[in-house]
């Protein structure tokens, strides 16, 4: 079973992403959520998700720090990290790259683009 982890402090965004990714649940993909970086790290160690959507501005530990932590203490299965943020500046993109993120999507985003990206990463085709 493949897993997607959504890390965002905003429950509405978590909810939105869960609903967007619903089609993948039908394809036997588990959707996990975490409201901050520390919880996220626990889940990553425990559940080994293939794909992580990571918000940047979060309390306790921001997205870049989570990213760095994953890269410095890699879990068994190295996840594909997509930074999903309202910060769309060039500098933020550079930071994301530097902290080891694989992809960068700015909010607000287009649903179809997001779905296409997920199927590409998980190699699961939607109907």
């Amino acid at each position: 079973m493949k897993r997607i982890l959504i890390v965002d402090d905003d429950p509405i965004i978590r909810n939105l992403l869960e609903q967007i990714l619903e089609p993948f649940e039908e394809k036997n993909v588990e959707i996990l959520t975490a409201e901050n970086g520390l919880v996220a790290l626990d889940i990553i160690r425990e559940k080994q998700p293939e794909l992580i959507f990571l918000d940047v501005m979060m309390p306790k530990m921001n997205g870049f720090e989570v990213c760095q932590k994953i890269k410095s203490e890699p879990p068994e299965k190295i996840p594909y990290i997509v930074i999903l943020t309202a910060k769309g500046q060039e500098a933020d993109r550079e930071k994301a790259k530097a902290s080891g993120a694989d992809f960068y999507i700015t909010k607000p985003f287009n649903i179809n683009d997001l779905l296409n990206k997920v199927s590409e990463i998980l190699q699961i085709k939607l109907d």
Partner: protein
Amino acid sequence: MSKLFKKTLLLIIILFMIIAFTIAISTGWNLYNDLLQEYKSKGTAIAKSVASSSIETLLNRDASTIQAMIDRFLEISGVSYIFVVDANGDIISHTFIPTIPDEISKIKNDKPRDTYVKEIVFEGLGTFIDITSPILEGIAGYVHVGMDKNNIMAQMKSAMIRQLILISLIFIFSITIAYILVNKVSQPLNALTDYAKKLTLHDFSSPVDIKSDDEIGLLANTMKSMATDLHEVFDRYEQAINDAIVELQNTLAYLTAVIDNMADGLLVTDTDGVITHVNPALSYMFNMRESDFIGRNCRSIFGDNFAEVVEKSRMNADQIFTTEIELAHKRIGKAVATGIHKETIQSDDKGIGAVILIRDITSEKEVDRMKTDFISTVSHELRTPLTSVRGFTEIIKKRLEEDIFPNVTNDNKRVLKSISRIRDNINIILSESERLTALINDVLDISKLEAGRIDWKLENVRPADAIEQAIIATSALFEQKKLLLIKDIEENLPEIICDKDRIIQVIINLLSNAVKFTDTGSVTCKAKKLDNSILVSVSDTGIGISETEKDHVFEKFRQAGDTLTDKPTGTGLGLSICKQIIEHYGGKIWVESELGKGSTFYFTLPLKNINDVSNINKMEYNYTEKE
């Protein structure tokens, strides 16, 4: 006494003295000779007379007779002594009183055959002329007559002194006469000279009292009238100069007051960048004394960057250069440098210095930073709810289209109408949220542009590539409105150095604007090379822009049409962003349009010196380049 007279007087005195002494000497000499001759002949006569008359007496050796005779002769002037010796050399009688001098013994034995004259010196008595005359050819003896030569000398001396005194008196008399005469001639000349001297010292009021009607008088009169004229002219000029000085002082005081009371710092440098003037505001800004600036090179105080800006402004008459500069107390100043150029601009004009105004922009920068931060924060905060709105709307739309609508029984007209409305409404929410996203992006963009927080990449860009990419990005819009796009791009356009993404952003903006305001017809995109730049134009056959609107289209939140009646379809920031980008590269952007017939937007990008231009702008926008 006139100098002329003094000079000649000295010469005359010398000459006179030579002449006077020559005359005196020659006179004395003549007198001496004459007297000597006279004494000799007198003595000879006396001697002969004594000799002839004393023969008998001598033979008789009648000494008393002889004595009486010689005593008689002694009374003749000049005769000092007479004595008679016999053939044996014994003195028979003499006139010596009281004793016969010793020197007589040397001559008493002389036995000349004829009358003989010789000089003898008696110690203590002087020189005498001794005339010896034989009596009876020496048989009876000899008569010696002594004439006093001292007498001759004394006479000669007194004669000479008399002569000298006389000549001197005559000379003094002549000199006095001459002096009076010369003075009479030179006095008016002297007076005139004094007058001329006073004139040279600008003393025109002194009187000159020369009334003679000769050349000197004429000269004096001419000088007087000249002095009067000069006086007038001088007075006039002096007045004019004084007026001008007062005016200049007033102007200077005014200007100094203006400069000293300016809130901005003022700095003036010469051709070498050496500081020649600062105002109190500048001293305060840098927390230094005025004397710390004057005479020093601005490079040594303000650094290389500042000095370069100053140098550039001096070299370019018609350009103003700006830079930011660190002030005292961690404040920031904006320096605006302008070259000082004389009005006679030559081809090799390099300027005679530069004026630099420095304004404390710390608070402006702070406000600017706060504004940008605020906009940045607000737009980030807006993005999150916008993400939800857009995301959920899309999900709702999907669910409706996939799960709800197909299962609605479609025989009810009202339900069908509702479905159609919901579909429209959801699409409106989606397009509006998209517009909101674009607006947030544009606001963020423009606030960053204005605050100079854009990272400008510098890369070689082929204009044709940039246009092509912009066309691809906007192709969907053209398809939607079924408009024709005509491309007219000159071949082999030179590359420009700029940020490709930014240029594409400009072209996309212009193309999408063209599509937005055009319902039928076509959009034409042209590009060609001008002398020093690339010209790109986008023309449409749309609604056009009125003359009054034309001036405002590049302003923020301005759009063609009335925003109160026409529903705006863009953010109103696109053209403002375009303008900022193009001007960043030293280019120009403008529009030509005719209402109802369409518009053409043009922009240029310079080919040369693009580095220079961007450097200047970097300073202006406080450009921070990434390490």
